[in-house]
Amino acid sequence: MMLLGASLCYAGFSALCLAMDRHHQDLLGAKPGRQRQWILRWVGGVLLALALGLLIAKAGWAMGLVRGLAVAMASAGVLVALLPYWPRAALALAAGAVPAALVAGVY
């Protein structure tokens, strides 16, 4: 469950990161359009909220909030550490995180 939450948080933070002009430029070679920026922000926010909601639903408010914050901090840390060294891997991991989370969620 923690891994599922961490995957969703990682994907969420990646979307929020891509919603910023500089990072979008660095990673994908161009600035994002207004509409795309708006979508990325919403996707990022929804993924983070979903991760927190799932963890709280699973483990209750106290443990859920603690775990939610922990995996959010850890996943953002991984993303920021990966970005300058392996930007492609960082993006690939984000793209793979949601399907992986779905598979993990089904089982």
Binding site: M2, C17, M73
Partner: protein
């Protein structure tokens, strides 16, 4: 107006961070190690065997042992084994002529046999150091609390100073000198900010009764001790009746306790007035059973009849909030994954303080790059940076090596371990002063520390019956984990030493022509 406020906050952040940074680095690093306190203690006592967990049988053995060894004692304390502690520890008050408070023995939880275990503080040393600094009560706690308060102020002023928290949320640009240090300092500070704020604030909450006692004095009319009687009613035994009576078996009382609180773990079993008609047995719940740490949560039984007398556990209102912060700080509830996250965030906090100290210095050193004799203040800061960071890592390694190398029969062995920690730290400070905190000093201390950490698994293999291969084969992951982490730390330190060394040659090359020119 706004800008001058920010400047004032930047000043506060800079100078408070510098003055308390050295101490805070030590508190954060040793506090971080404390998340693996039990594992480090287990590693430090290779004589304690790993057994299948059976609390009931362990209590039976403890009772049998105590009835022989401590029948006249006023109380017994039994610490049964759990998932993280393989040993069974028993304690009782020492006779007054012995000069210490308690006698403590380790038993084999499966057979009840008295074990010979090397004297060591193990992980407890780091745990106590991180809030008492090896100073006597209450001075260490006051200094640590003052440092925690400074940390809180430094963090808040740092947030105000940092203009682009959201704009640079994901920014880390390595390989760009000072820019990278600042990025790293900001990233580790901002990304783990909830942890940093929680750990610092909760550290202060833990000492609230010491730091802000006015409420207690007011409500309890100058007798604050009564507060503890209200919170821990089971900790105050009734006087003995002076009438002998056989005790009920602890294993039977344990069954009742488990029926009362299904699935509970118990950290401590206290027998008050053993052998007396007024005997009382108190089962204290393990703090890891929930987030909030409520140390009074316990079940009390009549020690003769085995009947439940009452349960205690104030878990509402202010105590629950206070206990919540206490529990979050200690992280006893954490499972293995959560414990590792705690450890990593703790290292993050340590790195935040360390990068801050490096930044303070490197910003000011820029002005004196070509000056062979920079101002004395800078040289002192450079010395203290080296001694407080690399020197501390070296001292920790010294403590671990002492655990493996000191003769087992040495009198006062556990105090020797602590003394070796401080001697190593002092030696590192003198060496740092000799090198004036220069890169060469860093390379030397980091290399030596790397060698010491790499040596730990070898020493374990040579001098204990539980070296790394055997620990892995037996699935003893606490012992194996400490050894493996020591190897990892050794690699990391060696890599750091190499990196610092390569920078030093670049800098020296850049400096040389400048000296030739008029």
């Amino acid at each position: 107006m706004r800008e001058s406020f920010r400047q004032a906050m930047a000043w506060l952040h800079t100078w408070l961070g510098l003055t308390f940074g050295w101490l805070l680095f030590a508190m954060f690093l040793t506090g971080t190690l404390s998340y693996f306190k039990e594992e480090i203690t287990h590693w430090a006592q290779p004589e304690v065997p790993v057994r299948a967990l059976d609390t009931r049988a362990a209590l039976e053995h403890a009772q049998a042992f105590m009835q022989g060894a401590a029948s006249g004692a006023s109380s017994w304390y039994i610490m049964p084994p759990n998932e993280r502690r393989s040993g069974l520890e028993v304690m009782w008050p020492a006779p007054s002529e012995q000069g210490r408070a308690f006698i403590s023995k380790q038993l084999d939880p499966a057979t009840g046999q008295l074990l010979f275990v090397r004297e060591t503080k193990g992980g407890d040393f780091f745990y106590r150091f991180h809030y008492e600094l090896e100073l006597s009560y209450p001075f260490g706690r006051w200094i640590a609390s003052l440092a925690a308060l400074a940390m809180l102020v430094t963090m808040i002023s740092g947030i105000i100073t940092h203009k682009k928290i959201f704009k640079e949320f994901f920014t880390f640009r390595p390989g760009k000198g000072q820019r990278s240090w600042l990025d790293g300092h900001n990233a580790v500070g901002v990304l783990a900010l909830p942890f940093h704020l929680m750990i610092t604030y909760s550290g202060l909450v833990i000492f609230m009764a010491m730091l802000l006692p006015a409420t207690l004095f007011t409500v309890y009319k100058g007798a604050p001790a009564k507060f503890y009687q209200d919170v821990f009613p089971n900790a105050f035994p009734a006087p003995a009746k002076g009438e002998q009576a056989p005790m009920a078996p602890l294993s039977r009382i344990y069954d009742q306790a488990m029926a009362q609180w299904p699935g509970a773990r118990f950290a401590r079993v206290e027998v008050q007035n053993p052998g007396d008609r007024a005997a009382r047995v108190v089962f204290y719940r393990h703090a890891g059973d929930r987030i909030a740490y409520l140390p009074g949560a316990s079940l009390a039984f009549d020690g003769v009849t085995g009947q439940l007398l009452g349960s205690s556990g104030v878990d509402e209102g202010a105590l629950l909030v206070g206990g919540g912060f206490y529990g979050l700080h200690m992280g006893q509830f954490a499972n293995t994954a959560e414990r590792w996250l705690y450890f990593i965030f703790g290292l993050g906090g340590t790195a935040m303080i360390g990068t801050g100290l490096v930044l303070w210095l490197s910003k000011r050193q820029l002005k004196y790059v070509r000056d062979p004799k920079p101002p004395i203040g800078l040289r002192w800061v450079a010395t203290l940076n080296l001694a407080s960071m690399a020197g501390l890592v070296l001292a920790v390694a010294g403590f671990f090596c002492a655990n493996r190398l000191l003769p087992l029969e040495l009198a006062g062995r556990e105090d020797w371990e602590v003394q070796i920690f401080f001697f190593t730290w002092l030696a590192a400070f003198l060496h740092a002063a000799l090198r004036q905190g220069q890169r060469r000093g860093w390379v030397e201390q980091l290399s030596l520390a790397a060698a010491q950490y790499a040596a730990l698994p070898v020493l374990g293999l040579l001098f204990t019956g539980r070296g790394l291969p055997r620990a892995i084969a037996e699935g003893d992951w606490a012992t194996a984990g400490v050894d493996l982490c020591a190897l990892l730390v050794a690699l990391l330190l060696a890599w750091l030493a190499r990196k610092v060394a390569s920078r030093a040659t670049v800098q020296a090359a850049a400096l040389r022509p400048a000296r030739v020119m008029p």
